[in-house]
C-alpha cells in the first residue's frame, strides 16, 4: 500500500546558503495508514523542523515530501487543498493554540470554512460531530476557550484537527502540557481515533512512555538525522544504536512494586 505521507531524503537548512548549517539531513521515512508513529528526539534534533516540512509550511532544501506517493508541490493549488484536508495538526500548548476571542464552534469550524468543505447548517453539523467524537458536548461550540480546562482545550484542538476528516494527524508533543491523568485520557482519545475515523497519528514526543503507549512505530532523531526506525517494540526493546540505548537508559522509571 502506498504510504499516506513520506519524506524522501529530506534536508532543510535555515538561512540556506549563508551558514549551510542543516537542521535536518537526508531524512527518509513513511507514514503508513494505521501505523501511529512516534518521532523521538531531544532539543535540537530537528523534530520541529521536520514537522514544518511535513505540514508543507516550508519547502525542503533538498529531497521531497511524498503525499500519496506523489511529490508535494506547494504551487499546485488543487494538490495543496487535498493535502490540507488530509493532513492536520495539533500543537503542544492548548492555551496558546486556541484564539481566546473566538467561540469554540468558530475555532473548530475554521478548516471547514477555509477548505470550503461545507457551509451553514452542514458545517455546524460537522463541528458538532467533531466535538462529540472527542468527548465534548456539541453545545461546547457556543462557549469560549477560557471556560475549558487544559485537557478539554486539547480536545477542542483535536476536534479542529479532525473536522476535515484528515487521514494523518501531526501532533507536536500533544500531551506534554497536560497532567498525568488528563494525559492518559488524551492518549486514549488519540488511540481511538485510529479505528473510529481512519486516522493515523504522527506524534513528536520526548516521552518514550507516551510513544510506547500510542505508537506502533518509532523513529529516533539525533542532530537532524534518523538514527533508528522500526516498530516501537523493536526500537525500544532491541535498540541497535548507542544513542537509542542512552535515551532509553535516561527514562525515569517507577520503583518495582
Amino acid at each position: 500500500m502506498t504510504p499516506i505521507l513520506g519524506l524522501a531524503n529530506v534536508s532543510y537548512a535555515y538561512r540556506a546558503g549563508r551558514t549551510g548549517q542543516q537542521a535536518v539531513q537526508g531524512v527518509s521515512f513513511d507514514i503508513e495508514s494505521g501505523q501511529n508513529t512516534g518521532l523521538v528526539g531531544e532539543s535540537g534534533s530537528g523534530k520541529s523542523t521536520l514537522l514544518k516540512v511535513l505540514l508543507g509550511l516550508v519547502r525542503p532544501t533538498s529531497g521531497e515530501v511524498l503525499f500519496d506517493g506523489t511529490p508535494l508541490d506547494l504551487g499546485n493549488r488543487s494538490q495543496v487543498r487535498s493535502f490540507r484536508r488530509s493532513v492536520q495538526t495539533v500543537f503542544q500548548d492548548p492555551y496558546s493554540s486556541l484564539d481566546p476571542r473566538q467561540r469554540v464552534g468558530r475555532i473548530v469550524g475554521e478548516p471547514v470554512r477555509s477548505l470550503q468543505i461545507a457551509h451553514g447548517r452542514a458545517a455546524d453539523a460537522l463541528v458538532a460531530e467533531a466535538l462529540e467524537s472527542v468527548g465534548l458536548p456539541a453545545r461546547a461550540a457556543s462557549r469560549y476557550p477560557h471556560e475549558f480546562s487544559g485537557g478539554q482545550r486539547q480536545r477542542i484542538a483535536i476536534a479542529r484537527a479532525i473536522v476535515s476528516r484528515p487521514r494523518v494527524l501531526l501532533a507536536d508533543e500533544p500531551v506534554s502540557a497536560l497532567d498525568v491523568i488528563t494525559r492518559n485520557q488524551v492518549i486514549d482519545l488519540l488511540a481511538d481515533l485510529g479505528p473510529s475515523r481512519n486516522l493515523t497519528v504522527l506524534m513528536v514526543s520526548h516521552d518514550l512512555g507516551v510513544v510506547a503507549a500510542l505508537c506502533q512505530r518509532t523513529i529516533v532523531l539525533q542532530a537532524g538525522q534518523v538514527v533508528e526506525q522500526g516498530t516501537t517494540s523493536s526500537v525500544l526493546g532491541a535498540p541497535s544504536e548507542a544513542y537509542t540505548r542512552r535515551l532509553l537508559a535516561a527514562v525515569p522509571r517507577l520503583p518495582q512494586i
Binding site: E42, S43, G150, D179, V180, I181, R183, N184, H206, D207, L208, G209, V210, A212, A213, G230, T231, T232, S233, S234, L236, G237, A238, R246, L247, L248, A249, A250, V251, P252, R253, L254, P255, I257
Partner: protein
C-alpha cells in the same frame, strides 16, 4: 530537632481563596521529602512558603519553623540571612534564577563571598571550584559567559552551584529538571543526588512526575487542590494507596510506565 516543621500552613490568594489548606509535615536534618501533585495542587506554593518567597499578594498563615525560626509573618529582613545558608532554592527554569546581564562567575561569586568571605584571587578560585563541583566542563569559559550563552542543562548546573554555595542545610528543588531533555535530566538528577548526599543535606523535591521523584526520595507527600492527601514511601503509595486520589494518580503514572516496560520486554524482529 527537626530542621523544618510546617504546621497548618495555609496560603490565601487576594480573592480570599485558600490555595494551600492546613498542610503539615516535617523534615529532619538529612531527610528527603518529595512533594507530588498536578498543576494547581499547591505543591510549589507550599515550597515557596517554606522560605518566605510567596508571590506578591499571597498570604501565608499557620507556622513554618525553619531551623528554629518562625518564617510565617517574619519581616523580609530576618529571612534574607536564612536564605542560602539555611535553605536554598532551585527553580524549574534556571533562566529566571540567573541575571542575563551579569557574567555567571560574578553571580556565583556573590553568595560565595558572603558565605566564605573570600576576595580577589581566592574568590575566583572558589568560583571555579564551585563550577567544577557541578561537573561543568571548562569552568573558566562558563564563568565568563552569560546565562543565554550556555545550554539549559549547563544553566541548571550553575543554578545548583549557586544554591549550594553557602552550604545550606535544606535544598528545595522545584521541578528542577522539567525543562530539560531526558538525558540531561538523568545527569542533573544524578548530580543533585550525589551532592545532596555528600553534604548530608535535607531536600524537598517538588515534581508532578512520580518516576522522577522516586529517583530522588523515598518519602513523598501527595497534594491535591491545596491539601495534603497522603504521605508515605513511594513504593507504598504505588502499591497500596490509602486515598482514592493517590490511587488515581499512581495508576496514571503506572500506565505509561507499563507501556514502556512492555515495549522494552517484547522485542521482536521486524
Amino acid at each position: 530537632m527537626n530542621l523544618l516543621e510546617v504546621s497548618s500552613l495555609r496560603v490565601m490568594s487576594p480573592d480570599g481563596v485558600y490555595r494551600v489548606r492546613d498542610v503539615s509535615f516535617t523534615v529532619a536534618p538529612g531527610e528527603r521529602l518529595g512533594l507530588i501533585g498536578e498543576s494547581g495542587s499547591g505543591k510549589s506554593l507550599t515550597a515557596f512558603a517554606v522560605i518566605g518567597l510567596l508571590p506578591a499578594g499571597l498570604q501565608a498563615t499557620g507556622s513554618v519553623m525553619l531551623g528554629g525560626t518562625e518564617v510565617v509573618g517574619a519581616p523580609e529582613k530576618s529571612l534574607v540571612p536564612m536564605r542560602g545558608r539555611l535553605c536554598s532554592f532551585i527553580f524549574q527554569e534556571p533562566l529566571t534564577a540567573l541575571d542575563p546581564l551579569m557574567r555567571l562567575g560574578r553571580q556565583l561569586a556573590e553568595p560565595i563571598a558572603r558565605h566564605q568571605g573570600h576576595r580577589g584571587s581566592a574568590l575566583k578560585r572558589a568560583v571555579l571550584d564551585a563550577l567544577d563541583e557541578v561537573h561543568l566542563p571548562e569552568p573558566e569559559r562558563i564563568a565568563n559567559s552569560r546565562s543565554y550563552e550556555i545550554s539549559g542543562g549547563q544553566r541548571q548546573r550553575v543554578a545548583i552551584a549557586m544554591a549550594l554555595a553557602c552550604r545550606p542545610k535544606l535544598l528545595i528543588a522545584d521541578e528542577p529538571t522539567t525543562a530539560l531533555d531526558v538525558t540531561v535530566q538523568a545527569e542533573v538528577l544524578a548530580l543533585l543526588d550525589h551532592l545532596v548526599g555528600d553534604r548530608d543535606m535535607a531536600m524537598i523535591f517538588v515534581s508532578h512526575d512520580l518516576a522522577v521523584v522516586s529517583r530522588m526520595t523515598d518519602q513523598a507527600l501527595v497534594m491535591r487542590s491545596g491539601e495534603a492527601v497522603e504521605k508515605g514511601s513511594i513504593p507504598n503509595l504505588l502499591a497500596s494507596p490509602q486515598h482514592p486520589y493517590t490511587a488515581e494518580f499512581a495508576a496514571g503514572a503506572r500506565r505509561t510506565e507499563a507501556a514502556f516496560a512492555a515495549a522494552l520486554a517484547q522485542a521482536r524482529p521486524e
